[in-house]
């Protein structure tokens, strides 16, 4: 396990300076929309919270952390704080895989196709799309989270945004539950699969869904992905630990202990694999950790997009 103090102060510094946890330049990593035909005007802002876009960097950083966990070198990590942002940025930029970046563009592109086919009035503006700061909340840096939340909420408010369509559970929870309490600014927040409305015949006939903790317990929206799947002709083979009693994928431990994330993730993968059906995830963090633990996992968007 790494010293959480080093990790948290690093992430807090990065969010303060660059508004994202890895100290990256947003223009450099939020590029998916350039490849996708996405509406520029509409009722609701598609607010990705940049989580899917950060996956290539999460994977690259986890690879580093895994190498040094519980090794004497781990203590040098604290000096990461003093590495100039641009150097850290270039390092991660280099090792983040191109394939992963493409995968992100495909996943978000599929969501756009589904929303369009569902006749949802929405638009995307890369300038308004920001990281929610939710990792700071989860790690206990409440002050850092609150400052960042105010920055994002005010930016959206100034642009006249009222409705948001979100794509991952962590960002959804932050915007729907935490932001109104902290900033006093509220938006109408719905996830992409709650507004999706596709009747058809998807390729997958039967799947097993991994409910993320935030959708299953904190937001209680587990019925929505099942309803969307059923409408698209896909059945869910259920496991015991689902919905509000879902088991964690282990991903949240990734930043302080990849080992612990693996232990928890392997147990979850065994539960999911027991059905013998394809495993479907709805969250980029779940996706990363379940895959790292040996599971073949597809994103919900790639299952539903077939029904168009």
């Amino acid at each position: 396990m790494f010293d959480p103090k080093d990790i948290i102060e690093n992430i807090a510094d990065n969010v303060r300076v660059t508004h994202n946890p890895f100290g990256l330049n947003k223009e450099g990593f939020n590029t998916w929309w350039k490849e996708v035909d996405v509406p520029a005007t509409g009722d609701a802002l598609l607010f990705t919270g940049l989580m899917y876009q950060l996956v290539p960097y999460i994977k690259a950083a986890t690879g580093y952390l895994e190498k040094y966990e519980d090794k004497p070198m781990a203590k040098y990590l604290k000096y990461g704080k003093f590495i100039p942002k641009t150097v850290a940025n270039m390092g991660l930029q280099k090792i983040a895989s191109q394939d992963e970046k493409l995968k992100t563009a495909t996943t978000l592109g599929n969501m756009v196709k589904i929303l369009k086919a569902s006749d949802v009035s929405f638009f995307y503006d890369h300038d308004l799309d920001e990281y929610s700061g939710v990792l700071l909340y989860d790690l206990g840096d409440q002050e850092g989270f609150e400052n960042h939340a105010r920055f994002v909420a005010k930016k959206l408010q100034s642009a006249g945004i009222k409705k948001l369509i979100t794509v991952d559970p962590h960002t959804t929870y932050a915007l729907k539950v935490l932001y109104p309490k902290i900033t006093g600014i509220s938006f109408e927040v719905q996830t992409w699969f709650e507004v999706a409305d596709l009747a058809g015949k998807a390729e997958h006939g039967e799947i097993t869904l991994h409910d993320p903790c935030f959708y299953g317990r904190y937001l209680e929206v587990s019925d929505a992905p099942r309803a969307a799947l059923n409408k698209a002709g896909v059945n869910c083979t259920e496991i015991n630990n689902n919905g509000s009693f879902t088991n964690c994928c282990g991903g949240p431990a990734e930043s302080v202990s990849p080992k612990l994330a693996d232990e928890v993730g392997l147990r979850r993968v065994a539960e999911l694999q027991a059905t013998g059906k394809p495993i479907v995830a709805l969250c980029p963090i779940c996706m990363v950790n379940l895959e790292k633990c040996g599971a073949d996992v597809v994103d919900l968007s790639s299952v539903l997009v077939d029904a168009i």
């Binding site: 396990m1 010293d3 959480p4 103090k5 948290i8 989860d138 790690l139 206990g140 840096d141 409440q142 903790c213 317990r217 904190y218 509000s244 009693f245 879902t246 088991n247 964690c248 282990g250 991903g251 949240p252 431990a253 302080v256 202990s257 612990l260 232990e263 928890v264 147990r267 979850r268």
Partner: protein
């Protein structure tokens, strides 16, 4: 020797959580926690109840083992919120090192 401070559960409210005194130490949260790790998280709830601040801060790293998954809070028969208490303790620990 551990210093007992019954006031601590009250003090922790400023970091967000006030359910620690509801806990009657049944261990349901330990049994259900995906970490499967000794007496985690019940031990920490007990530390809050008796106000063993020094023990919490001395072993502060273990607070971050908690995934904030919420399964313990969903299952607690007393309506305590162990996951929320752990999050408050993380905030308390962060505030402590930033003060020092």
């Amino acid at each position: 020797m551990t210093k007992i401070s019954p006031q601590f559960a009250e003090d922790l409210k400023q970091y967000g959580e006030d359910t620690a005194l509801e806990c009657f130490n049944c261990g349901t949260c330990v049994a259900i926690c995906p970490l499967i790790d000794g007496s985690f998280p019940r031990k920490l709830i007990r530390y809050v109840q008796i106000g063993a601040k020094d023990r919490i801060l001395l072993n502060r790293n273990e607070l971050w083992k908690c995934l904030h998954c919420g399964l313990c809070s969903e299952s607690c028969p007393r309506g305590a919120d162990p996951g929320g208490i752990l999050l408050s303790l993380k905030r308390y620990a962060v505030a402590s090192w930033r003060k020092s």
